[in-house]
Subunit: 187 residues, 2 copies
Amino acid sequence: MDTKERLIESTRELLWERGYVGTSPKAIQQRSGTGQGSMYHHFRGKPDLALVAITRSAEELRDRAEAVFSGPGTSIERITAYLRRERDALRGCPVGRLTQDPDVMADPELRCPVEAVFAWLRVRFTGALTEARENGEMDAALDPAATATALVAVLQGGYVLARAAADPQVYALAVDGALSLLAVHAH
Amino acid sequence: MDTKERLIESTRELLWERGYVGTSPKAIQQRSGTGQGSMYHHFRGKPDLALVAITRSAEELRDRAEAVFSGPGTSIERITAYLRRERDALRGCPVGRLTQDPDVMADPELRCPVEAVFAWLRVRFTGALTEARENGEMDAALDPAATATALVAVLQGGYVLARAAADPQVYALAVDGALSLLAVHAH
DNA sequence: GTCTATAGTAAGATAGAC
DNA sequence: GTCTATCTTACTATAGAC
């Protein structure tokens, strides 16, 4: 991995662990094993580097979700697979955590990839649920868009509760609860 | 409001808006209209003041929830009332946002009130759902603890999605989706 | 491309006057 | 109790040598 790449990956890690406000150029340089010179040669500054890192994390989230949603199984099976996908619950979501960062939300450029990937994810979930309803896998009384948003919220909120409890099983419990609610409405 | 009180309230606001890492003593002093002298007279430092502020925010969350859960209506009605309670979705949860703060989570003292209030809230929800199940208001196939955790997660995740979309209606949509899933239907 | 030197601003806190 | 002065370290970045 070359220097530029190490800078990006180190930034991704630090943004995940400490957020944008809590990540200093110095910390990025130390983790990546580079000096100031390298960082400011490859990037204009912290916001520029962060934009590349955030964009990549958002793409990764999207790609991993797309792999599940375009995979095998019925609509409900694919949704279940996505919800149950192995995750490090205590680390939380590398993109979702950025919504709590005031400097990220205040900067239209940094905010854009965050906004876009969650909009995409909700639409993807909505599509799968619409399919499920058409195939008779889901109660026709449920609104796909509202249900999709609730399910994605369970994931993001599950991270919050798991971190609050310092227990990854709390995340699993939230997912179990959501899937059981969905199962009650299966046909 | 005296000086000490202004310091606490200003800190609560800033922790809500910017988190612990993003809140400096200087910012607290400016918002509260006090000087360094006052802050360091009333508190040992930033962590000490933050502990008082976090504890108060957690108590407030608890009191407001307790008011709804011990209020009138059936179990499901009270749960619905709590989920639909008026909230400023884009501001997020003043306590939940702290779970994303590395310095809060790393300090056992600061972490404690956050952990405690969410543990309490999940138990309170679980109790209400257990009641609901006994009264036939909820499908007997649902586990109260898992369902409770999922519902609290929808709130916390709803904030995340609303902030990502810069749209409070996304929060409302998540809540709608969750309540529809909870609603008992004629099967 | 990477290194060191440098610099202005802010963070977080202490000391002592009033 | 509050104010101002002071201190050390960190943040974020620029300049110029190599």
